[in-house]
């Protein structure tokens, strides 16, 4: 899923404080799982902004609302009136949702309440880790199901580097060395000899390097 983290409150306040009306708008799927951008969080953030406005003596009408997903048209039906009447929308979605709202409402100011941080998993209810960079050319089949693109700090296809120590990355003792994990998996699969196959040079044109990506279903 997409993981995001709320921006510092002061940064959010600076973005919205010049408006007469702002709608804090939740997205109740991915970013709700990481407790950052769901409809509940939108309600809390709206309250905090109202308090700040009162403290600073600024008159802003702050509403809140939300939908299940800000990246698909049908979900917007239930919030049509709210959004059409909004002067500004503080979207609690990932960058995709923020852009989707901006595209739908050309003359409405839209601001991101979150920093979209990564594509990751839910290790526990409170711990999320990066697992994919959507590079467009998956090699998990040759790396024992461990992604070096997203999990090795140097994105090495033929690691580990000389900084791998006791299973950890040289960047942080909190961070697993992705290549230690690759090797552990290859060994568990009885395929450690595959380690000596040199991974070919990557085609990065399928990554963001090739420009914005899209695809269409034929005959759908």
């Amino acid at each position: 899923m997409i993981v995001g983290q709320q921006k510092p409150f002061d940064e959010i306040w600076e973005m919205v404080k010049g408006h007469k009306q702002v709608t804090v708008f939740g997205c109740n799927t991915c970013v709700a799982v990481c407790h950052q951008g769901g409809n509940k969080e939108a309600e809390i953030l709206a309250s905090l902004l109202r308090m700040r406005a009162t403290q600073e003596g600024i008159d802003i009408d702050i509403k809140n609302g939300g939908i299940e997903r800000q990246c698909e048209h049908p979900f917007f039906e239930s919030a049509k009136d709210l959004l059409e009447e909004s002067e500004a929308v503080l979207s609690m979605a990932c960058g995709i949702g923020v852009q989707f709202v901006a595209e739908k409402y050309m003359s409405t100011a839209v601001y991101p309440a979150l920093n979209t941080t990564f594509l990751g998993d839910v290790k526990t209810d409170w711990h999320f880790t990066e697992k994919c960079q959507a590079c467009g050319d998956c090699i998990l089949g040759i790396t024992g199901g461990v992604c070096p693109v997203s999990r090795c700090c140097k994105r090495l296809f033929n690691g580990p580097c000389g900084g791998s120590s006791k299973g950890k990355c040289e960047l942080s003792k909190e961070l697993d060395c992705a290549w230690q994990l690759v090797i552990d998996r290859l060994e568990a699969l009885g395929k450690l000899d595959d380690y000596e196959k040199i991974a070919p040079i990557k085609d990065w044109s399928k990554d963001r390097a090739g420009g914005p990506r899209s695809f269409k279903l034929e005959g759908f």
């Binding site: 090495l156 000389g162 900084g163 230690q180 090797i183 380690y195 040199i198």
Partner: protein, 310 residues
């Protein structure tokens, strides 16, 4: 053995003599005087001089320009090239540029992560990894082609090196990793600084068992400790460095003003011991910002005078 390039380092190895290299870090300045002076301090005691490429991810005068300065002084540089800062277009361009100045040696590295350097907010590139850079240089030299497949009218001709760290984890893939670098095309290997001699010898045993020492020239890295503080720092804070407790104890046992001298003696003893280690073909003496000690280390280790080759 057939000599394939104009590299002095290749000729020394293939003459059967132990080779000696050292390294110099370029200045954080546009003035090349400092690195030229360093080169002259060590030129008679080493066969080739590595020029580091923004080492520890700190921005410096570029490796290629520094190599050219040394080449113009008649010295033999080894161009260190990291894949952190440049994509395949820039790497291949610099390879051709280096060849155009008659630089004959290249060392292919991944590079320290930028978070350790002076621009931690920088983007990193890693379009290729170090293994693939070795392949790229060999492809350009041997096939006379760019990675795109297009022909290079006058191909470069490098003696290609790579790094190895026998002390990083997991240990069990450290020999296979060397084999992989050889398969990619590495012709010589310079290792991480060796302080744990037993572990290095254990790694070399694995290397010799697979006959890898007959396919590549291996140079253990030797870096003298200047003080017990340096030894403790390297043990604690430098990733992939193995500094045994006994070494720290030995340095602690001598007065502060004699520790540097003791550090030199330990380096000399390490070289003397590893000269006897089967598969060792030379030494890479990295006296970090202490280049003036290289001649003494080389002389005391019995590696001087350096052989003369055509």
């Amino acid at each position: 053995m057939e000599i394939k390039t104009k590299s002095k380092l290749e000729k020394i190895f293939k003459s059967g003599a132990m080779a000696v290299t050292s390294e110099c870090g370029p200045p954080r300045s546009s003035d090349p005087a400092h690195i030229i002076a360093k080169g002259h301090i060590i030129k008679n005691h080493v066969d080739a001089i590595n020029i580091t490429d923004n080492q520890t991810a700190v921005t410096r005068l570029c490796s290629l320009a520094a190599c050219i300065h040394l080449k113009l002084e008649g010295l033999e540089p080894v161009l260190q090239m990291v894949v952190r800062d440049r994509n395949r277009i820039a790497l291949q361009a610099d390879i051709l540029g280096a060849a155009s100045f008659g630089i004959n040696n290249i060392l292919c590295l991944s590079g320290d992560h930028q978070s350790f350097g002076d621009h931690p907010k920088a983007q990193n590139v890693f379009d290729l990894d170090s293994m693939q850079l070795i392949q790229t240089v060999r492809h350009m030299c041997d096939e006379g082609k760019f990675l795109s497949g297009e022909e290079i009218k006058v191909p470069p001709n490098f003696f290609v090196g790579a790094a190895a760290n026998p002390f990083a984890d997991p240990f069990k893939i450290r020999v296979p990793r060397l084999a992989k670098k050889i398969a990619a095309g590495a012709q010589f290997i310079q290792t991480q600084c060796v302080y744990n001699l037993e572990k290095f010898e254990l790694w070399m045993k694995g290397v010799v068992e697979r006959g890898l020492h007959e396919q590549v020239f291996i140079m253990p890295g030797i870096t003298p400790m200047r003080s017990v503080g340096m030894a403790k720092y390297m043990a604690r804070a430098v990733p992939g460095m193995d500094v045994p407790e006994e070494l720290i104890k030995r340095l602690s046992g001598v007065p502060k003003d004699k520790q540097a001298e003791e550090g030199i003696t330990i380096a000399v003893e390490s070289i003397q011991r590893l000269k006897e280690c089967k598969g060792v073909s030379g030494f890479h003496v990295m006296a970090i910002e202490w280049e003036d000690k290289v001649p003494e280390i080389v002389e005391r280790s019995g590696l001087y005078p350096r052989p003369v080759v055509d």
